[in-house]
């Protein structure tokens, strides 16, 4: 391992967990992880987003969950991988499932419900639709 390259460090680290992955897929995964680390998404991850991120990494690796692919050491935790978030908050790479993009976890960016304003006409009478 050429230690002077961050991608090489990441590849060597990923190869431990995915011994069946190809060199090219490990490189794709390493580059994606370094890019996601720069995007500032990690501090806002919740359970579903972590499962989605794991699913994205496994899609880049081209392997699945199991003895021949990614084998979590904790069986109880592995069940969480079955319910990933239906969106992502990080950039998408080739090979990842196309999903909606959100600026952050949905429960954090959902706006509060609109309060009724008696000065505004009711909906359907010429006002612009809500975003």
């Amino acid at each position: 391992m050429r230690s002077e390259d961050a991608v090489e460090i990441a590849r060597a680290t990923l190869a431990l967990a995915l011994p069946q992955a190809t060199d090219e897929s490990l490189t794709r995964m390493a580059e994606a992880v370094l890019r996601w680390g720069a995007e500032g998404v990690e501090p806002h991850l919740n359970e579903e987003l972590i499962s989605r991120m794991f699913a994205d990494l496994l899609a880049l690796a081209g392997v699945g969950v199991g003895p021949d692919g990614y084998a979590p050491a904790d069986e109880a935790w592995a069940e969480r991988l079955a319910s990933p978030a239906p969106y992502r908050t990080w950039s998408r790479s080739e090979g990842m499932e196309p999903l909606a993009f959100a600026a952050g976890p949905v429960e954090e960016i959902t706006p509060p419900p609109r309060q009724s304003n008696p000065d505004q006409p009711p909906r359907g009478q010429g006002d612009t639709p809500a975003p």
């Binding site: 720069a38 979590p72 050491a73």
Partner: protein, 229 residues
């Protein structure tokens, strides 16, 4: 619950232990020392070599003043290659001067000036269109995170220590902290992070480290443990 055998012969604990408490002074100093890798190359050189050189010269000056074999002025003249040395203490200063004066003037100063000139036409992409305020410039460098603080942190932090400490290191907080610091330090020492501001360098290295080590930690693996076997 039954014994978990995935990831190695030592079973994975079923719950994360409490951290042992605040790090000792020695370990905090070690963490600070490792965190210096977030600094620019010039600043690291000053810490790694400049401070020991300054300390050596101070000892020479004080030795001259205390032993009375030479005055501090004699030491200065010999160090800067103005006068010839007359006895052992001044010979030490003369040799140090021959080695250090060209290195400091030619090497260090030349590098700093060359780098500043080159940067006028090659702004790193990470800093494009950004504005660095005075408060940001004066802000002291950060330290690699103490994982004990993650125990009561955000969901992402708690999940990380669950994977890294409980699963990958079998509840050994000390070893997990050591290997976390080593990983972040070595990541910051790569060209991808060379042109980043020190706070940004530390942030990116830690966030990408948490993403990566969470993934491998859940499989019960630690690259530092593997390399040190």
């Amino acid at each position: 619950m039954g014994v978990q055998l995935y990831g190695g012969p030592i079973p994975v604990p079923t719950a994360l232990n409490l951290p042992s408490g605040r790090q000792s002074l020695v370990k905090r100093l070690r963490r600070a020392w490792r965190s210096r890798k977030a600094l620019s190359g010039v600043t690291q050189w000053i810490i790694d070599w400049g401070l020991p050189v300054a300390l050596t010269l101070t000892v020479l000056f004080l030795s001259a003043a205390l032993t009375r074999e030479a005055t501090p002025s004699d030491v200065y003249h010999v160090f800067t290659l103005i006068d010839e040395p007359k006895h052992l203490l001044l010979w030490l200063a003369s040799v140090a001067g021959w080695l250090l004066v060209p290195a400091i003037i030619g090497g260090f100063a030349g590098h700093v000036i060359t780098t500043r000139i080159q940067r006028t036409k090659s702004t790193p992409a990470a800093t494009l269109f950004q504005q660095r305020k005075l408060s940001q410039r004066l802000r002291p460098p950060g330290l690699i995170d103490d994982l004990a603080g993650y125990f009561h942190g955000t969901y992402a932090q708690k999940d990380f220590v669950d994977a890294w400490v409980r699963v990958a290191h079998r509840n050994d907080w000390t070893r997990a902290q050591d290997h976390w610091e080593v990983y972040v330090r070595d990541t910051m020492s790569t060209p991808q992070y060379a042109h980043l501001h020190r706070r940004e360098c530390l942030r990116r290295a830690q966030e990408s480290g948490r993403i990566l080590l969470r993934f491998t930690g859940r499989a019960g693996r630690c690259i530092v443990c593997e390399r040190r076997q």
